[in-house]
Symmetry: C2
Subunit: 424 residues, 2 copies
């Protein structure tokens, strides 16, 4: 019998070990996340504090009757409304209060009308009104203007309206109930707002600000890595392959930052003035910068695609264009880093104009190098037919870094203008 | 006195008219959205039906005591769980039921421990347990693996746990309550699932499928528009400027489709087999195709940036490269459309291989045209110094469409491979 049991035991042991390994793996990842972003751990603790406070507050006061009573609305409000950054919390709180208030008053109205119209008509009126309002509100959530700001409010509106209109209470009792509900929600939301704003607050505006200036730095890194790898590759060995390829890939997360930036800008608009940001800080300008950065990242993507292609230019051509290309690249990077600093400190850097000038000068140099290139090659070699064919082929293969840089540089200067406009 | 009133009246009238205009504008937009996407109107109506059904069901049964009782959980479940597509609804339903069940049992356990340990310790134990679990669950929502699938479940877990553990009921009463709550939630979720699956269902898998093959068509359109405009521009007038620029911009929404695709693929995995999709349909492959399409869109972005730059090639060069470039472009478009069709019908098109071959041939032709270009120019003109400078300048300006096409073509052939792998 033990022969049959052993494999089962082994299987069980195997499953247990597998589960343990998974749990350990999960915990390890969680630890790593916590170490790299302690803000998120703090946020978790803030939610814990808020919940314990509101729970105990209601637990201590036995005048409400436990789960069935209104205390739960306060708990629920805290759980649902407490978001990672202040803007989102404010946005959800206002949505919740407004949605509850509007739907509550409308629901009481409909309920009154229905109760006046006799027992037969009552369920019909209620059903139809719920159907119409729920359909309309659900559909309105698809509208882009509603979705951006009042998505949660519309949901709360539907919820409250159907709860109120369907409740079997008389209207005069409903008023007392509505008063209680609104007050518990107000307690919950104000607790959330206070804790999220005063206990190590995380502002959406700050986050957006950081995303933008970090993205600039990432772009500079990628550009440097990309062009650097291309021109170094054949000369020295591969000293720090992993590191440089990681740098080169940095632009990829810039490409996908649109959704984050938009929601951050949206939340940032709800936030009160804080730190260096005034009340009407031009958050929309950040979105424009973000769009320009994304198209820069696109250029870098195309550029690195060209550089990775199998066909490579000859050493001769590479050497010829190397200095000029590297100069353009490094000057672009300087401009990007300069911009990043000036965004970070929200000051208008005086160096910026001169570095843009230098970058444009380097670009001109590169174009000159390109122009002078064929002449040299033709004069060096006796057979124009052969050489020119060879050369044009080479030039075509080598041109990508250069051509990719031209729109990039245009974009960078465009970016400069925008940044300058903001920092003023 | 009427002098003072008039401006006020005018102001009031002005405000009313402004508000009316806003409302009308909103309604107009809503109407346009409804006409262009009737599915969204139907979804709104489905939510309306589900809500009316569940509301009336509970309204008709007076054994529950209105808002305070458990009926509200069914209404709330419907409002919160009913999502646009079937996968999302299933995902949220399962999350809700699992979260409630887990948190409920854990909450009852903690409640029992707390109630056994005396009156003084009880609130302390409850407070600490709520704090620890709420913090941990909130933090776990930041983990990417949890966020993708169990975000909502974690929220429900926190909510239910704090509600149960804080409730003032005795444990034996809690069991009955938990049973009631779970059954109302089960009624709500099953109603949602049935209505969303059987009343004109909207499958996340279908949506993803459509997004992918539409994006391919958009890319083909943009590529055509972009290259077409470049080569036509100087010859004929501007016959359909708005139309072609709209076409050229089509690639932009491909660039920003990442988040949508990922959430769709995530929801699609929850869906049962339907239509042409089997149980283990490789949804992740769609994400790979999506990534390739995005990098294609990036190339088109860089290309159109180059074409829009002020410096243009001379007519002579344009004419020389025109046919070859147009051929590459049209063959790429054919391949893209072929791919789009083959994705749409989930069949492996036999034409695909031959059109890829044709595209590669056209590419080779273009490279030959480029190679032969300088030779001709040099032989035509007597002063190699001048002409070559001029030529290289021109070539540089003209090269973008060509050079942009090379990585694009590489990507397209890469795409072919992936698509072929899937359709097998």
């Amino acid at each position: 019998c033990s022969y049959y049991l052993k494999p089962r035991l082994a299987l069980k042991g195997f499953l247990v070990v597998g589960l343990m390994a998974r749990v350990l793996n999960f915990l390890e990842k969680a630890w790593a996340l916590g170490v790299s972003e302690p803000k998120k751990v703090i946020h978790g603790m803030k939610v814990g504090i808020a919940l314990s406070l509101v729970s105990l507050f209601y637990y201590m006061r036995p005048l409400y009757d436990g789960v069935g009573g209104n205390a739960m609305w306060a708990v629920m409000t805290v759980v649902v409304v407490f978001e990672y950054n202040v803007g989102a919390t404010l946005c959800k709180s206002l949505n919740r209060v407004t949605g509850t208030f509007l739907a509550g008053s409308l629901g009481i109205g409909v309920h009154w009308v229905a109760s006046q119209s006799g027992e037969k008509l009552e369920p019909i009126i209620l059903g139809i009104s719920v159907f119409i309002l729920a359909s309309a509100a659900t559909f309105s959530r698809f509208m882009p203007s509603v979705k951006a700001r009042f998505d949660y409010g519309a949901m709360i509106f539907i919820l409250t309206f159907s709860l109120v209109s369907v409740s079997g209470y008389r209207v005069d009792k409903l008023f007392g109930m509505a008063h209680q509900r609104l007050s518990t929600i107000a307690i919950g939301t104000s607790l959330c707002i206070i804790i999220s704003m005063f206990v190590s607050p995380i502002w959406a505006g700050d986050e957006l600000h950081q995303i933008i200036h970090r993205n600039m730095e990432k772009l500079a890194e990628s550009l440097e890595g990309c062009v650097g790898t291309y021109f170094k590759d054949n000369q020295s060995g591969h000293p720090s392959e992993g590191d440089s390829s990681k740098k080169t890939q940095a632009y990829k997360c810039v490409l996908n930052s649109k959704a984050t930036e938009e929601s951050m800008a949206n939340f940032a608009m709800w936030e009160p003035p804080h730190g260096p940001f005034n009340f009407r800080h031009p958050w929309k300008e950040y979105l424009k910068i973000g769009a320009v950065l994304r198209s820069c990242a696109c250029c870098i993507d195309a550029l690195s695609g060209c550089l990775d292609s199998e066909k490579q230019a000859t050493e001769h051509l590479k050497v010829h264009l190397r200095d000029a290309s590297m100069a353009v690249c490094s000057h672009s990077c300087i401009v990007l880093r300069e911009l990043s600093m000036s965004v970070k400190t929200t000051t208008n850097s005086s160096k910026l104009h001169s570095s843009v000038g230098e970058m444009n000068f380097a670009l001109q140099e590169l174009q000159n190098a390109l122009k002078s290139l064929p002449t040299q090659l033709i004069l060096q070699q006796p057979f124009p037919d052969e050489s020119s064919e060879n050369k044009s082929n080479n030039e075509k293969e080598c041109a990508p870094p250069v051509l990719g840089l031209i729109p990039l540089a245009t974009l960078v200067s465009l970016l400069t203008e925008i940044a300058a406009r903001i920092e003023e």
